[in-house]
């Protein structure tokens, strides 16, 4: 398949968050140093986040150059129902999640099933920064600089068998620290068709804004499928299963008439209870129209050729 980069230019002008923070710290430190009359040699203070930074990062032509949603919004306005169903709940409660040690089992119809330790997984392929639009099924959106590598790099390692047609993702569930009410059928599960999972846009995601994923964003590893509604992008993954039949998915089980297996962003197919024609970009006042496949039609429309997207919503 021919993958064309979108018309967006590389985001070379964006100041990385860590650089930005370091400058601030440098200035603060410099002020303190002067006040103390100490030697002027002392430069930047080591970053408190040094241990959590990821890198080096390759730029990706698949990134958008749209204005990024502030880090604070990205990390305080979350749908991560295991940690509470209000937007601010995950930021408050996800701190309880232990992200080390962590393993991801890749199993099912594969030649080489394997359990990856998270620290090996991070080194499996070169990390890229991918600045993607994220469109929630609730008609809001963000632009987020994710860090990761194509999921296909992982799937190729385990050698999917010919009979594997779908990929199922299973999220971590621990009733001791997570919601016990059966709002959804825990653990959270999601799924993609194998060709969707192998698509270069589908990102195995380990970080955002230059850092490891904050817990509320699905640490330590999640998937990002930018042309689908956000709930398709499973968080805190513990197992990836290659299967023959379309796997059950959490939201589809909860309300099959509202959340289809595909759930591609589609402004022409409304959610039964609200319109999907437009969205509110977080931080913006007025709504903006929602583009087909969340603006990734050029790259992904061919996956669905001949399909009735109204029926396969």
């Amino acid at each position: 398949m021919l993958i064309l980069p979108s018309n967006d230019t590389a985001p070379s002008e964006i100041t990385p968050r860590d650089l930005f923070d370091n400058r601030r710290r440098f200035l603060q430190a410099a002020g303190l140093t002067l006040a103390a009359g100490a030697a002027a040699w002392i430069g930047a203070v080591p970053s408190a986040r040094a241990a959590t930074k990821l890198g080096p990062l390759a730029r990706s032509p698949l990134s958008t150059d749209e204005a990024q949603t502030p880090f604070k919004s990205v990390t305080t306005y979350n749908n991560y129902y295991e940690f509470g169903t209000e937007k601010e709940d995950p930021a408050e409660n996800a701190g309880k999640l232990q992200v080390r040690p962590w393993t991801v089992r890749v199993e099912g119809l594969v030649g080489k099933p394997r359990t990856f330790d998270i620290d090996d997984l991070i080194k499996l392929a070169p990390l890229e920064e991918r600045i993607y639009r994220l469109r929630c099924v609730e008609a809001w959106s963000m632009v987020i600089p994710w860090l990761g590598f194509p999921l296909s790099a992982l799937l190729k390692q385990v050698e999917p068998q010919g009979s594997a047609k779908y990929v199922q993702f299973v999220s971590h569930y621990d009733p001791k620290i997570m919601l016990r009410r059966p709002v959804l059928d825990w653990p959270y599960t999601e799924g993609l068709r194998l060709d969707e999972a192998m698509h270069p846009l589908t990102l195995l995601t380990l970080g955002l804004y230059g850092e490891v994923l904050p817990n509320q964003n699905g640490a330590p590893v999640r998937v990002i499928v930018p042309w689908k509604y956000g709930f398709k992008s499973a968080k805190s993954i513990v197992a990836i299963r290659l299967v023959e039949k379309e796997p059950p998915t959490a939201w589809n089980k909860a309300a099959p008439s509202e959340y289809g297996f595909y759930s591609n962003v589609n402004p022409q197919v409304d959610h039964p209870r609200w319109s999907q024609a437009s969205e509110r970009r977080i931080g913006e006042f007025r709504k903006r129209p929602t583009p087909m496949f969340n603006g990734y039609a050029e790259q992904v429309a061919s996956l669905y050729q001949g399909m009735d997207l109204r029926r396969n919503f």
Binding site: T76, Y77, T85, W140, A254, R273, S275, R280, I282, F285
Partner: protein
């Protein structure tokens, strides 16, 4: 102060305090707005908050009659109009956030939403039904309509309560805990009225035969009913 029978001045003071209390939710959200503390999606925050406060005021208003019956403090009834009007006030704020901040007065979009989206249909109906109640809330209107007609009109608030809870229930994606709590509270408030009605019916039947039953429904406004066991 005599809690059973406060003086007119005392009632006026109580009303003034209540008025200020009812404005606290609005004041808090204005303060949060000025502090830039409405979260990542301020429009959603205020839409949700105004909607939830409408529902709360509606339930508080519906709680006046049971409170009066249980406590015997008949003057509580004199606070009900203000609470009802604050329900309408927060409903208007809620509707304004939708018409303005969500739809930007796009009449076509609003009309489509009202027709196509059941939760908006139901919410909009509740708002429309509140208007005649607000309009007829003055003493002059009560006199013009006559007590009984006024009362039957204002009973539509029970239906409005049901519509408001459905509106909330149909809005949430999966976690129905909060709408379910409001549904239970509303069911209790309406259920008590149904129960009292039934008791009253039985009492009238029992006392019926001689000589002639009172015309219409007996509304114990002043006389404290003997406690039923």
């Amino acid at each position: 102060m005599n809690f059973r029978t406060p003086t007119a001045t005392q009632i006026a003071a109580i009303k003034a305090v209540l008025f200020a209390l009812c404005l606290i939710p609005l004041a808090l959200y204005i303060q949060r707005g000025l502090d830039d503390a409405l979260g990542a999606n301020p429009i959603e925050t205020i839409t949700r908050a105004s909607g939830e406060w409408t529902l709360r005021f509606l339930l508080i208003t519906l709680a006046v009659t049971p409170l009066r019956r249980f406590s015997g403090l008949n003057w509580l009834l004199r606070l009900r109009r203000m609470l009802g009007l604050f329900t309408f006030f927060y409903a208007c704020l809620h509707a304004t956030t939708y018409f303005w901040l969500d739809q930007f007065f796009d009449l076509h979009g609003i009309a489509k939403d009202i027709l196509k989206r059941p939760f908006i249909t139901v919410g909009f109906s509740a708002l429309v039904l509140l208007v005649p109640l607000a309009v007829t809330s003055s003493n002059a209107m009560i006199r013009r309509l006559g007590g009984r007609r006024w009362q039957s009109l204002h009973r539509s608030v029970y239906a409005i309560g049901v519509l408001a809870v459905i509106h909330y229930w149909w809005l949430v994606k999966a976690d129905i805990l909060k709408p379910a709590i409001y549904a239970v509270l509303l069911a209790v408030l309406l259920g008590m009225r149904g129960w009292w009605r039934e008791l009253e019916r039985r009492r009238q039947l029992a006392a019926a035969a001689p000589p002639s039953p009172p015309r219409g429904k007996v509304i114990p406004l002043v006389v404290k009913a003997p406690r039923q066991t």
